[in-house]
């Protein structure tokens, strides 16, 4: 890490004091107002972190790893874009598709009024049609202009990579 602030520059300490104060205000309010359920909220906040780090992120890494081995190099970018959009669509459409809110208010047809299976499939069809068009355009242009050999060698230099 090249930046100085993280190692304790003045900007960090000023921000830390202000931020810690805001956090303390939030924790105090949560404890006072949530009373008995404050530990539940804490579990859910920490749980949200763990679900990301131990479930979502490894899934993304595994999908990325698979794409890099299964999908031909020239197709990777469009496929990755399609997969990202698909993942977001499924995450966002999940409650509606499962009817989670709908179950709680069976007499209120204005909650989740759509057929979310059709809705999600429609969005996915739009996404993958765009990906298919992109791939076709690539194949056609590649035939006209052959790719230079350098495209298949790594172009990332260590300086560009995230410093760890």
């Amino acid at each position: 890490m090249t930046g100085g602030d993280e190692r304790g520059g003045a900007a960090f300490w000023i921000a830390f004091i202000i931020g810690a104060g805001i956090m303390a205000f939030g924790i105090r309010g949560a404890v006072l107002q949530l009373k008995g359920s404050a530990p539940d909220v804490a579990k859910w906040v920490i749980g949200a972190d763990l679900v990301h780090d131990l479930v979502l992120a490894p899934i993304a890494v595994a999908v990325g790893w698979t794409v890099n081995r299964v999908v031909p190099a020239r197709w990777r970018t469009p496929v990755q874009v399609g997969l990202v959009a698909t993942g977001i669509t499924l995450l966002l459409g999940w409650p509606g598709w499962r009817g989670y809110g709908r179950h709680l208010v069976p007499d209120n047809p204005s909650v989740q009024p759509l057929d979310y299976t059709t809705a999600i499939l429609t969005v996915l069809a739009v996404i993958w049609s765009a990906v298919a068009i992109w791939l076709v355009v690539r194949v056609v242009t590649d035939r006209r202009v052959p790719q230079p050999a350098s495209a298949s060698t790594p172009t990332d230099s260590p300086s560009e990579r995230l410093s760890l």
């Binding site: 090249t2 930046g3 100085g4 602030d5 993280e6 190692r7 304790g8 520059g9 900007a11 960090f12 000023i14 921000a15 830390f16 931020g19 810690a20 805001i22 303390a24 205000f25 939030g26 924790i27 309010g29 949560a30 949530l34 359920s37 539940d40 909220v41 859910w44 906040v45 749980g47 972190d49 990301h52 780090d53 979502l56 992120a57 993304a60 990325g64 190099a73 990777r76 970018t77 990755q80 990202v84 959009a85 977001i88 669509t89 409650p95 509606g96 209120n108 047809p109 909650v111 009024p113 759509l114 969005v123 495209a151 172009t155 990332d156 300086s159 560009e160 990579r161 995230l162 760890l164």
Partner: protein, 394 residues
């Protein structure tokens, strides 16, 4: 921190130096996504605070009546920025994921505190977005009160964000400046890399996904795009009389009382010696006024309709109340939250603040608050009290 030289995890799996291969993971990617998230989180936070103040006004806060559509805009923005943040947050976390396995884990007090603040930052951000999405779907899979938890965790998350900004200020500045020198030579264009997405392509994907999410949901509040709102939990044109309902009469337990033939509205409180009662015939005989106002739900959907009914200020004059007073509107509903709502002086005096009997020329549907509901400018939908039984002058 010599201890971390002696104790270190074996270089396997994510701890390998070359475990993460995508060249799209750069400081610059993290910096750009961080700035975008900073803007969306602060917008979400500010609009959330406004909504909180509107619903729980402290003594210094007065909810104004104008502009009439203000709450519709702020709350629409709250939900839209929250939803648009989802792809940006996931892209950001993907970008910095290798840092989770960095060794040494910290190198001093400041860096230890900074890493510790990532727990409330990441946990809080994911918690806020998840609970927010679940709430707009009316889905509550947790054992705590949603508004209270969402409100206080917002403060905790924003506090952690302030710490994070302080820690990353100079790294961000450097990463943004470096583009014109090193980066442009290394990766001159948005061309593919062997691992697929380049940095620019990743950013385009994250922002594109953000746009897609907005397009697929914004129609719940912006009517012209309602047909595109395929992933929205609400449609502004779906429900009894063509707009949504949050709590039905049955859920509120007012099906019988709201339809009782002996229904009366009672006006009592400050300056009223003897409570005034009005039955439906008397209410219909009073001067009726029309107002086109949005019903703007806390959950982000909104719909503008033409309401017709009696001005609240006329009712106070009818009850011989002197001068402008705030009021509390009470519902026929017997229990649960949002049974009553506070109306500040500015809104009580507004000519568009009505106890409505009709919407779009029709008698109110039972689920929309028959026989009488409050409708006022610039007000959260949950405070547009339905099945009004009582006006209490404060």
């Amino acid at each position: 921190m010599k201890v971390f030289d002696r104790v270190r995890p074996p270089r396997v799996g994510p701890f390998r130096d070359d475990a993460f291969t995508s060249p799209a993971r750069t400081e610059r990617t993290a910096a750009i996504l961080g700035i975008a998230l900073g803007v969306s989180f602060f917008t979400c936070f500010a609009t959330g605070i406004y909504s909180h103040l509107a619903q729980h006004p402290p003594s210094w806060f007065h909810l104004s009546a104008r502009p009439a559509g203000l709450y519709r805009v702020t709350q629409g923005l709250h939900i839209a920025t929250g939803l648009a943040s989802i792809p940006l947050l996931l892209a950001k976390l993907w970008t910095v994921f290798p840092k989770l396995f960095a060794w040494p884990p910290f190198h001093g007090i400041a860096s230890a505190l900074e890493r510790l603040s990532l727990l409330p930052l990441v946990g809080g951000a994911v918690f806020q977005l998840f609970t927010g999405v679940a709430n707009i779907n009316l889905w509550y899979p947790w054992p705590f009160n949603f508004p209270i938890a969402h409100y206080w965790v917002a403060w905790i998350t924003m506090g952690a964000l302030v710490v994070h900004i302080g820690a990353k200020l100079s790294v961000t500045r450097t990463a943004l400046r470096r583009e014109r020198t090193e980066y442009s030579e290394v990766a001159p264009s948005g061309a593919d890399t062997p691992a697929g997405l380049s940095r620019r392509q990743l950013l385009a994907t994250a922002f594109g996904a953000s746009g897609l999410v907005t397009l697929a949901t914004i129609g719940q509040t912006y009517s012209p795009l309602r047909k595109l709102a395929l992933l929205a939990p609400r449609r502004p044109d779906t429900g009894p009389q063509g707009f949504p309902v949050n709590r039905t009469a049955r859920a509120a337990g007012v099906t019988t009382t709201a339809q009782a033939t002996d229904y009366t509205l009672e006006i009592r409180g400050h300056g009223i010696a003897q409570p005034v009662t009005l039955d439906l015939t008397q209410l219909r005989a009073m001067p009726q006024h029309r107002a086109t106002l949005p019903i703007a739900c806390v959950e982000g959907w909104s719909a503008s309709r033409e309401w017709e009914g009696i001005r609240v200020r006329d009712l106070l004059i009818h009850a011989r109340v002197d001068g402008a007073r705030p009021v509390r509107i009470e519902s026929l509903q017997q229990h649960r939250s949002y049974r009553t709502s506070f109306v500040d002086v500015d809104q009580v005096g507004d000519p568009d603040t009505l106890l409505a009997l009709k919407v779009n020329g029709e008698t109110l549907a039972l689920d929309h608050g028959y026989p009488l509901r409050l409708i006022a400018p610039n007000r959260p939908g949950v405070m547009q009290t339905k099945w009004v039984a009582r006006v209490v002058v404060l």
